[in-house]
């Protein structure tokens, strides 16, 4: 089971780009990197998933280097409503598809 490490907290201001980096040194060949967002008193919400290089959707971008030992979630031009906990997860053959959430990164966006 690949362990993930990410910062406990980050601060940003409205309109800035935020990059949250996650390390997963023991990622297996068949594993994917997945990010979730959680607001207080709500369940997590899927944001983005990738295997290598770059993935972009309407919410975020995910950058994964060739060695796949880390990944970076990029949130463009954050707003106050992006204040949440962001979880990096490794999912795949090593986890049998199950999600194992760590402590996540508390992102606080200030006006």
């Amino acid at each position: 089971l690949a362990k993930t490490t990410q910062p406990i907290s980050m601060d940003s201001y409205e309109g800035q780009e935020v990059n949250i980096t996650c390390s997963h040194n023991n990622i297996a060949t068949n594993d994917y990197i997945t990010w979730y967002q959680q607001f207080p008193s709500q369940g997590p919400r899927f944001i983005i998933q990738g295997y290598k290089t770059k993935v972009t959707n309407e919410v975020a971008s995910l950058f994964i280097p060739a060695d796949r030992k880390s990944s970076t979630l990029s949130l463009p031009r954050v707003s106050l409503s992006d204040t949440a906990v962001y979880y990096c997860l490794v999912v795949g053959s090593s986890t049998l598809g199950r999600l194992y959430f760590g402590r996540g990164t508390q992102l606080t966006v200030w006006p």
Binding site: S41, Q42, G43, V91, G92, F101
Partner: protein, 113 residues
């Protein structure tokens, strides 16, 4: 479209009392179903998962149990609650097979007194 329901939304129970939390999913068939618990200030802990009716896998030893009597119904139970059972309980579903993307319900806030 798919929806997931959980009830009750909040619950206050005394130590030693039984527990039953229910989760139902609509708009999909043969989903994988999951129960998670989030203690205050902590990440989510996977408790149980099910790939089909009557098929339950437990992730951690505890005084909780789960059952799946119907394809889209998942129940979390306890015979005697402990103080440490307090937390935010979330049910989630994913598509059949390896579910990279899971969809979470609104959750139940359980306080054991």
């Amino acid at each position: 479209s798919q929806t997931i329901h959980q009830w009750p939304a909040t619950l206050v129970q005394p130590v030693g009392s039984p527990l039953s939390l229910e989760c139902t999913v609509e708009g999909t068939s043969n989903p994988n179903l999951y129960w998670y618990r989030q203690a205050a200030g902590r990440g989510l802990q996977l408790l149980f998962y099910s790939v089909g009716i009557g098929q339950i896998s437990s992730e951690v030893p505890q005084n909780l149990s789960a059952s799946r009597p119907q394809d889209r119904q998942f129940i979390l139970s306890s015979k005697k609650l402990l103080l440490s059972d307090s937390g935010f309980y979330l049910c989630a579903w994913g598509s059949e097979g390896v579910s990279y993307e899971q969809y979470f319900g609104p959750g139940t806030r359980l306080t054991v007194t």
